[in-house]
């Protein structure tokens, strides 16, 4: 980037701090916020995903970063420069921010040829090239995304996947500090989506561009990201690596939204060696993982179905160890590679994943083991 003001050395491409936006005209005390006190950082060269259900504020956040919408409070730094600061009354227009964007609908201009679409940033954007260099540079990029053969076709003649690649090529030709992607795969069919997901990640790594990606698809987020920012109702629930978000969800929402999780209510909590001991509807459970603070009024126990171990009950009165419970099978579903068993223990239903050849039927007694290492306590 050849910015007018030299950016100080920084490892963060984007720093978003305390961003707040309401769509109401004059947000009062009871205002609802589309995004509420959102802060996160995007390290240089990394792939960061904003993940959440629709209406959680992830797209609004992205559009605020792009400058297409304006927040009421907070501040956004980009490559060491303040691009938005509500307190300082400072807002850099989108055309002056060092960004590129792939919108959900790709934004491929139907009245232009493929090459003209790609060359647009070089001709009219903030990094203009000499007229004679434009075509060469654009062709080079089209080559890299595998579209050089289509360069002189009309953009509307491209398939969905090709349009997506073209949008990506065009964005990269902006030479952005940050690439913003707004659910770029959501309009494709499942098979193509998986293929382009891989391509996207390899392009991003190849060009070393920083990416901020918005999706509601947890599989996409887990597969692509260096960091996942999970959002819900305008707030950030958790910022972590994909592994940690999955293994150590920090809230019941995250646990439930990413993958599937058994969540059941806690009546009493106390600290113990090796974790937290909680009293629940199925008895005392030792949780190896826990959120930092305990909630004396309750919380949840969270355990993934694949971490619930089931075994046929032996004898009339089986000896139960710690974190072992006796339950009744409610239903079992054969899914080819595995068996999904719903077990009832007291008032609580648990889903467990068993080997496909595990034999059980409804009404049968069953022994359930929760390993403390994979069982988490989540404060409410």
């Amino acid at each position: 980037m050849n910015n007018a003001v030299v950016a100080p050395e920084t490892t963060e491409s984007i720093v978003v701090s305390r961003l707040r936006k309401s769509y109401e005209r004059a947000p009062g005390s009871g205002a609802t916020y589309a995004i509420d006190d959102v802060s996160f950082e995007v390290p240089k060269g990394q792939f960061v995903t904003l993940l959440g259900p629709s209406g959680c504020g992830k797209t609004t956040t992205l559009r605020c970063v792009a400058g297409l919408e304006q927040a009421q409070e907070g501040r956004i730094d980009m490559a060491g420069q303040v691009v938005f600061d509500a307190a300082g009354n400072r807002n850099v227009r989108p055309e002056d921010r060092p960004i590129a964007m792939v919108p959900q609908s790709y934004g491929i201009w139907p009245h232009m040829k493929v090459i003209d679409n790609a060359a647009f940033p070089l001709r009219y954007g903030r990094n203009r090239r000499r007229v004679k260099d434009v075509r060469g540079r654009s062709m080079q990029m089209l080559e890299q995304v595998g579209l050089s053969a289509m360069a002189d076709r009309w953009a509307t003649q491209l398939s969905g996947g090709q349009q997506q690649r073209l949008a990506f090529a065009r964005a990269l030709l902006c030479e952005p500090e940050v690439l913003l992607l707004d659910e770029p795969l959501s309009n494709l069919d499942a098979k193509l989506r998986a293929q382009l997901r891989q391509e996207l990640r390899s392009f991003q790594e190849q060009f070393g561009v920083t990416a901020l990606y918005v999706t509601h698809d947890q599989a996409e987020a887990l597969a692509l990201s260096d960091l996942v920012v999970v959002m819900n109702q305008g707030r950030i629930e958790q910022i972590d690596t994909p592994q940690r978000v999955y293994d150590h969800p920090r809230s019941a929402f995250v646990a439930d939204f990413i993958g599937s999780a058994n969540l059941f209510a806690v009546e009493h909590v106390s600290r113990q060696d090796g974790g937290v001991l909680v009293k629940t509807g199925i008895g005392a459970v030792l949780c190896g993982n826990s959120t930092a603070e305990l909630d004396p009024s309750g919380g949840f126990v969270c355990v993934r179905p694949e971490n619930v171990r089931v075994r046929a009950a032996r004898g009339d009165l089986p000896v139960l160890g710690d974190n072992q419970f006796l339950g009744t099978v409610v239903s079992s579903e054969f899914l080819g590679d595995r068996l999904e068993v719903v077990v009832r223990i007291g008032d609580v239903s648990l889903t467990a994943v068993a080997r496909a050849d595990f034999a059980c039927g409804p009404g049968q007694d069953i022994e359930v083991t929760l390993d403390p290492a994979t069982t988490s306590y989540l404060a409410r």
């Binding site: 691009v83 002056d96 792939v102 201009w109 139907p110 903030r126 902006c174």
Partner: protein, 592 residues
């Protein structure tokens, strides 16, 4: 808000600046200033086009003037309103207007709903050919339409009147309230059809089938399922029709004035330009204000209704085959009835017009007449003194109006959609006020303006007509562009913006090319309508700025030389048909 420059900025105004020009924030500020200046000029221009006529109208309605111009009277009073409400004339004009508007509304609703249902939901043969035919009156300027009907159904020698008298013993007179109602009703069919047919077309047949499987017969299905679903579209179309019928001038003037049947719009024109004596501007303004009030109420209801249309929209992403109801043994008889309507309602008047234009004198269509067909009438048209000036005036008026109205409409619509400056949305909304101003009223409001404040000195020139016509077509034009803008995905413009391209560049390279089909459509639409727009040209005309349509009016009403008038009407019809055909040639017919 402070403007911060991050990237290198090109020099102001440069289209292809040298790469990486060193930047200074001054460039941005200067561009901002230029942008604001353009905005300011446009706001003033639109305010001038839209608000000034309204203010002048209200102002003069409170001036108790009879023979003087409104601004020559001191003080304000309700004298005009008192006089209007006390006169016996008011009651009869109101009654005529109500009968005329309601009657033609019923005719138009029955015809267009029936046609739309037949074309969209039944297996009537020849749909491909019948449905464009049903829409063809769109290409006929209303003045031409009224003259054609006067020729075809006048009681003396109109072919239709003669035919009915000879075969059925019926005597009909087009110069009557029922005559006006039928003509206005037929004229209103295309625009109504265009609003109602899509409602039928997008109705998922599963909704009807669901009722059918429960055992509801066709009649009950129509009443309980189909009718409620198209009701919003129908009532919206009806509101719009009422506004158009209220302000329409050509039909009441050509078919009503000979027998002194007045409705609001022709009454206003009569006050402004009485055949004898002096104009009564006070009365005219008062009628204008009343008419405007009714139209605005209708438009407000219309806007509510169109919002309901969205609520009732039952479009599904999934494609479905519209199942058509079978007409059974009624298939052919209904087809014949539709064809008969199309022939008598549309074909015959136009044929008679063309026939008359080729005849030495007015006579019924007959085989024997073919021998004496002549182009002499067209010769008369072009031999008339100052016809060159008239043609030039018409060309200037029509071309300039179409271009200026399209340009300003685009600006309003784009500014409103981008919220370019505070109040841009409001500006767009107030431009729709003009839609409620009857064009007779708009014409004389602008007349007052330039008599009152002769700056710029355009009174008696073609420019005054251009100003009035641009004001008249702004609301329609800006709505056509706005509809097109709504269909352009935001991502297309946003992805151009984030590359760092300047707003002006984005507009030039992305937005306008994407809008091009709609710009063309809007231009042609305004072109065709400006050509046939009678009342404005009539009120603002003088010896120096005559246009073709005024020439047509004068020839038809004053000289009584019907063959020459027909030749003129055919010329106007031909030009307008080409424009309308071009509008509809590519893509679907749109609500216009």
């Amino acid at each position: 808000m402070s403007q911060v420059e991050v990237g290198p900025a090109p020099a102001a105004g440069a289209v292809e600046p040298p790469p990486r020009a060193p930047s200074a924030p001054v460039g941005g500020r200067r561009r901002r200033l230029a942008g604001n200046l353009v905005n300011l000029v446009m706001i003033l221009l639109i305010g001038y086009l839209v608000l000034v006529p309204l203010v002048i109208l209200l102002y003069s309605s409170f001036k108790a003037s009879t023979t003087q111009l409104p601004f020559q009277v001191a003080g304000f009073s309700l004298e005009n309103f008192r006089r209007v409400f006390e006169s016996g004339q008011f009651a009869s004009v109101t009654l005529n207007t109500v009968v005329y508007v309601v009657g033609s509304l019923v005719v138009a609703l029955v015809l267009s709903t029936g046609l739309a249902y037949l074309m969209e939901r039944t297996d009537i043969p020849g749909r491909r050919f019948l449905s464009p035919m049903a829409l063809s009156p769109m290409a006929v300027p209303v003045t031409v339409m009224a003259i054609a009907w006067a020729l075809v159904a006048n009681p003396v020698n109109g072919p239709l009147a003669v035919l009915l008298r000879q075969t059925l013993g019926l005597s009909i007179d087009i110069y009557s309230l029922p005559g006006m109602i039928v003509v206005m009703g037929i004229f209103g069919v295309p625009s109504m059809y265009l609003m109602i047919a899509p409602a039928f077309a997008r109705m998922n047949p599963e909704l009807e089938e669901a009722a059918a499987t429960i055992g509801a017969p066709l009649r009950r299905r129509l009443r309980l399922i189909v009718f409620p679903l198209i009701m919003p579209a129908m009532s919206a179309a009806a509101m719009l029709f009422v506004v158009v019928a209220l302000e329409g001038f050509a039909i009441p003037a050509i078919l009503g004035l000979p027998k002194q049947i007045f409705v609001f719009s022709s009454q206003i024109q009569y006050y402004v330009e009485p055949p004898t004596g002096l104009p009564n501007y006070g009365q005219a303004s008062t009628y204008g204000v009343l008419l405007l009030a009714v139209s605005l109420v209708m438009l407000l209801v219309y806007r509510r209704r169109t919002r309901d249309v969205h609520r009732f929209r039952v479009v599904v992403g999934k494609a479905y085959r519209p199942a058509r109801a079978s007409l059974g043994r009624w298939r052919i008889p209904i087809f014949v009835i539709v064809c008969a309507y199309l022939f008598i309602g549309i074909g015959l008047p136009i044929l008679t017009l063309i026939w008359t234009s080729l005849s030495p004198f007015v006579r019924p269509i007959s085989l024997s007449g073919f021998a004496s067909m002549t182009f002499a009438n067209y010769g008369h048209v072009f031999a008339a003194p100052e016809i060159g000036q008239t043609l030039l005036n018409t060309a200037i008026v029509v071309l300039l109006t179409a271009t200026a109205a399209t340009a300003i409409s685009t600006w309003i619509a784009v500014a409103a959609s981008r919220r370019q400056f505070p109040g841009s949305k409001f500006l767009f909304e107030i431009s729709s006020l003009v839609f409620g101003i009857p064009s007779v009223v708009l014409g004389f409001a602008i007349l007052f303006l330039y008599v009152f404040i002769p700056v710029p000195p355009i009174y008696d020139t073609v420019w005054i007509i251009v100003v009035a016509l641009v004001a008249r077509y702004l609301p329609r034009g800006s709505r056509m562009i706005q509809t097109a803008l709504l269909q352009i995905d935001d991502g297309l413009v946003e992805s151009a913006r984030v590359t760092g391209a300047r707003p002006a560049t984005v507009t030039r390279t992305v937005l306008l090319p994407l809008l091009r089909p709609s710009l063309r459509k809007t231009w042609l639409w305004v072109f065709a309508h400006a050509l046939g727009e009678l009342p404005i040209a009539l009120v603002l005309t003088s010896s120096d700025n005559r246009t073709l349509v005024v020439e047509l009016w004068d020839t038809f009403t004053s000289s009584g030389d019907y063959p020459t008038a027909s030749a003129l009407a055919v010329i106007i019809l031909a030009i307008s048909s080409v424009a309308v055909w071009l509008v509809n040639r590519d893509g679907t017919l749109e609500e216009s």
